[in-house]
Subunit: 341 residues, 2 copies
C-alpha cells in the first residue's frame, strides 16, 4: 500500500513540475493606455508603430532584469521608452491642458519596502517617472506637486527640458478639437443643470497613460505609472496615476498594479490597492482580484483597464474598453504585444 | 421541544434588544490631530481651550444631524469650527511652509455614492474642506491642486481670504524654530549619508490635522480631513489628508475614516481604505480593522492615529502617539472629549 502511495505521489510531483515548466513566469508587463481603440480605425502603420514602441519598452525592461537589476530599474527603463515616444499620453506625447500646457503626473512603488514616490503637475521634467523615483529615494516624502516637485527634481539631477519639448502637433490639434467640442456642448447644454458643472470631462480625451510592473530575480515587485492627464483639463486636476493605492501600488505579499482609464473613478474605488487587498484578505488570484476591482469601478460609471503581476509571475491585464495597448515578456525573453480585445 | 426553543429564542431577542438600547449609537466623531501631547506639558487654560473647540465642533455637527441634514453637512460644519480655530493645524491655524506660506490640503467623501473631492496646496481658501466639497459636488473631478484649485473654488463661491488671514504668531515662531533646528541638524549630520536626503522631515512638526466622520438619520456616512501639512515643508509636499484611501475614506458598506499623523506612512499603507477593506473582506469590526491598519502602518515606521465610525454607529479612535485630540457625540447629544491616552 505504501509503495502504491509513493508511486502516485511521484507521478503527482512529476506532473506538478511539468506544469510549472509549462507556465512561464512573467517578469515585466507594460500598458500604453486603454480606450476606444478599434481595429477598423487603425492604419497598419500606426499599429506597427505602437507595437514597436511597446516591444522596445518591454525589451529595455527585460534587459534590466536579465542583467540582475532591480524591478524598479526595469519599470523605470520601460516607462522611459513610453515617455520618450510621442504615441502615448506621457512625457513627450503628453496632452495639453485647457491653458495649452503639458502637466504630467507619475508614481512609482517598490513592493519590498512599500516605499513610494509621486509627482503631479510637473511641466519641465522630461521623464516624470524618474522624478517620482527621486522623490521616493532622495526625500522622506511620497508626493510633491507643481513647481516644488520640479525644484526638487532639478536639485536631484533629473533631466529638465524646455516645456516646448512636449509640443506635438497631434496633441495640440486634440486640444483645439476638445475646446471646440466643449463650446458646442456648452451651447447645446444651455439651461441644462448638468452644464453648470465646472470642469466637465470630455469622455474621449482622458486616456493614454502608460505603466509597467516588474518582478526581478530577487523576487521583488515594482510598479510605475506616468501620464499627461486629460486633454483640455482645468483647475490643476490630478488623476489617479500619482495616487498611491488608486493608479499605482506594489506589495511583495501580493502584486504590483498600474492602472489606466478614467482617473476619478479609480481614485474613488482605490483600484490598485483594492486588487492587493482582495488577494491578501480574500485569497483571490491576481486575475480574479483584478477583474473584481475593475468591475466594482465600472459599476460607479468608470472605464479603463489595469495591469497586475503577482509575486509568482502570474499576470492579469483586464480592461472594459474597446482596447488597451499592452504587452508582456516572460523570463525566457519572449515578448507579446496586444492591442484589441 | 419547539416551545422550549421558542422560549429561548424570545429571551435571546429580548437580550439583544436591551443590548442595542444600552449601546448608544455614535453619530459624529472628530479629531484635532495626534502627536506628543502630554498632560505634564499642558496648562489648564490650553486644555480648556482645546476641549471647548472640540466640543463646539461636535455640537455644530450634531445640530446639523439632529435637524435632518446630511452626514456631509455635519462633517463640513464640524471641520469649519476646527479650521476657524487657531489651535489646530488646519485653516486659520495652519503651519508655515519653508517659504513662509500656509499651504493647505483637504478631502471629503460620501459613503453612499463613493463620491469624493480634494484640494491640495491651497493658500487663499478660508475653509479648505468647503473647497473639497465643491470639487466633489460641482466638478467631475476628485482632486485639484494649487492655483487651479483656488480658481475653481472662487468660481464656486467658496470664501477667499488674504493669505495674511492664516498668520498666527505661534505657527510663525514654530517655523523659525524648525528652520533653526534644521540648520543645526545639517551641521551635525555633515558627511552622514542620511543628511544628503533633501526634504528631511522634522519629526515633531507634522501633526495637528483635523477630521470628522458622521452618520446621519438616513444611515449615510461621510468623512472629511483638513490640514496645514508640515511645518517647514518644502517642494510642494502633499501628505495623506487629501489622498482618498490614505487619509480619508467613507463607504456605507463599512465605515468612514479620517487619519492624522505622519502622512507619508499613511499613503504607503493606504490606511483609510485598509480599514474599510478589512471590514469588507475579512469581516473585522471597525475597532479591530482600525487597530490592525494602524499597526501595519506603525511597522513601516510611522505614527499617528485615526477615527472611524461604522454604518451601525460603532466608533474606533486608536492612536500610537502620546495623545490625540478627539471627541464623540452620540444620538442623544452626549458629547465626550478626550486628549490623552
Amino acid at each position: 500500500m505504501n509503495y502504491k502511495l509513493n508511486y502516485y505521489f511521484s507521478i503527482l510531483l512529476l506532473l506538478t513540475s511539468l506544469n510549472l515548466q509549462a507556465q512561464k513566469k512573467y517578469v515585466l508587463v507594460v500598458h500604453g493606455g486603454a480606450g476606444t481603440i478599434l481595429k477598423k480605425s487603425m492604419t497598419p502603420e500606426k499599429e506597427a508603430a505602437y507595437t514597436a514602441a511597446l516591444t522596445k519598452a518591454l525589451q529595455h525592461g527585460y534587459d534590466a532584469i536579465k542583467s540582475g537589476k532591480t524591478s524598479l530599474d526595469a519599470v523605470e527603463a520601460a516607462i522611459h521608452v513610453l515617455e520618450d515616444s510621442p504615441l502615448f499620453n506621457a512625457g513627450k506625447g503628453a496632452v495639453f491642458t485647457h491653458d495649452g500646457k503639458n502637466e504630467m503626473d507619475a508614481a512609482i512603488m517598490e513592493g519590498k519596502s512599500l516605499k513610494a514616490g509621486a509627482v503631479a503637475g510637473v511641466t519641465v521634467i522630461r521623464n516624470p517617472i524618474t522624478a517620482a523615483r527621486a522623490v521616493m529615494e532622495k526625500s522622506e516624502h511620497v508626493m510633491m506637486v507643481d513647481r516644488g516637485a520640479e525644484q526638487f527634481a532639478e536639485q536631484c539631477g533629473v533631466e529638465i527640458v524646455d516645456p516646448k519639448y512636449f509640443y506635438t502637433k497631434e496633441r495640440w490639434d486634440g486640444l483645439q478639437q476638445a475646446i471646440k467640442e466643449d463650446s458646442v456642448k456648452a451651447v447645446l447644454d444651455h439651461g441644462n443643470k448638468k452644464s453648470m458643472k465646472l470642469g466637465t470631462i470630455n469622455r474621449d480625451y482622458k486616456f493614454g497613460t502608460v505603466g509597467a510592473v516588474a518582478l526581478d530575480k530577487m523576487g521583488n515587485l515594482a510598479a510605475g505609472t506616468s501620464t499627461g492627464g486629460m486633454t483640455n483639463k482645468k483647475y490643476g486636476r490630478v488623476g489617479d496615476s500619482p495616487i498611491i493605492g488608486a493608479g499605482t501600488y506594489a506589495n511583495n505579499l501580493t502584486a504590483g498594479i498600474s492602472c489606466t482609464g478614467w482617473g476619478e473613478f479609480y481614485i474613488r474605488s482605490v483600484v490598485a490597492y483594492d486588487v492587493s487587498a482582495m488577494m491578501e484578505y480574500k485569497n483571490l488570484s491576481v486575475s480574479d482580484a483584478s477583474k473584481t476591482a475593475l468591475d466594482k469601478m465600472e459599476k460607479l460609471g468608470g472605464d479603463g483597464g489595469l495591469i497586475a503581476l503577482d509575486k509568482n509571475g502570474n499576470v492579469a491585464m483586464p480592461f472594459n474598453t474597446e482596447g488597451m495597448y499592452r504587452g508582456t515578456v516572460t523570463e525566457d525573453g519572449k515578448i507579446e504585444v496586444l492591442i484589441y480585445k
